[in-house]
């Protein structure tokens, strides 16, 4: 399953992202790919939604892959230690000419 997230993911927009991700029916061995290349900004609330989704996917024995992280977003996942837990596809990473 492929999904594209775009725009600013912050305290105001994160609830609707959470709703959409909750609606995903995760099945065993399902590979879910979230493309974050169009995410211009993500704050900690947004991060929380992604982590909650990761927990939901793994609890249902699926796999989650994040792709297209900007440098700033990558840093956020590095600092929080999440890049060691959630699979992040580095190839195809977008150049960080703007802030995330």
């Amino acid at each position: 399953m492929l999904s594209m997230v775009s725009g600013e993911v912050d305290a105001f927009t994160a609830p609707s992202l959470r709703e959409e991700l909750l609606a995903v029916d995760i099945q065993e061995d399902m590979l879910v790919e979230l493309n974050l290349s169009e995410v211009s900004y993500m704050d900690s609330t947004g991060l929380g939604v992604i982590v909650a989704f990761y927990k939901n996917v793994t609890a249902n024995k699926g796999r989650l892959v994040l792709v297209g992280l900007s440098q700033r977003l990558q840093r956020l996942f590095d600092i929080t230690g999440l890049s060691g837990v959630i699979h992040i596809e580095k190839e195809g990473a977008v150049n960080d000419h703007e802030r995330i």
Partner: protein
Amino acid sequence: MTNEIKKQYTMLLGQYLQYQTERNLYLGQNFSRRLVQKDITPEEVISIHKDSLAEIYEGSEEFTDGMKNALDFLTEFMIQYGLALREHKILLKNQEEMDHELELAANVQKTMLKTTIPTIDGLSIGSISVPARKMNGDYIYYQGDSKRFVGVGVADVVGKGIPAALCMSMVKNGLDTLGQPSISPSYAMDVLNRIVEKTDNMFISMFYGRYDVVQSTFTYCSAGHEPALLYRAKDGKFIELESEGLLLGVLPDVHNQERSVQLAKGDMVIIMTDGVTECRVDDRFLEKSELTDLIFKHKDKIPQQLAEAIFHEIEKLSQFQNLADDLTFVVLKKEDD
């Protein structure tokens, strides 16, 4: 509706019908404000209007039955608007009540999470923590034995507002239960992680450090937290205290590593939350070098004044826009040789 209101309305309407001046219109506007205050509904206003017209045109044929019927029709029509207005007023009142409740909750939070800066010879501490909204999702925890050890924890709940604030008492209770300033930072983080992991999708980034006055060592562990800074007084340089740890609450069994640094006189450890690093300046974020420049500028102040000065500088840089995130800044400074 009182007769007084009706009388005044008739007078104002009568004047306006005679002279359509700005002043008469203005008087009418002021009067309508009073009617709103007195909870006169839109349909009542039309009814007053109809009665006033009947009085003004008494004995003349100008105010016809057709016009009267039309006004009755309009009165019915306006009832829905009246209901909407009443609903709006009730909502406003509820909002006020909720604001008040929140105010109380924020006060309870302050009391519940109260922690005092420990005093110990050879180390001075200063801090500031400012919430972006009413309740703070950042938290500073202190413990000290007044002889050898001081423990400082800075936590930032992922997310904002009330749920984040409620989560904080978990951190405090966890650390209180461990209850020893000498405790190993990585052990403290491991225990907290197990507590937080049991909650439903709550994640906390946390930095915990312990200073040993006897050895002059600062031992720290970061659970997915913004790296702390170490200022070396000898060469005037800043180093990031790197540490790879995972946010609390993501996985059940995590062991976060701790590391130690030796402090010399004048060295400072600066712990902050992302409210500092994610502060927006114009259309970009505050650079790390800008932050270290600011700290350097104020480095000779005592830690409490330094923390406050940094907050004011950040406020200025973000042009006094409201904070996007809770902001916390803690400074530990080794004072003795």
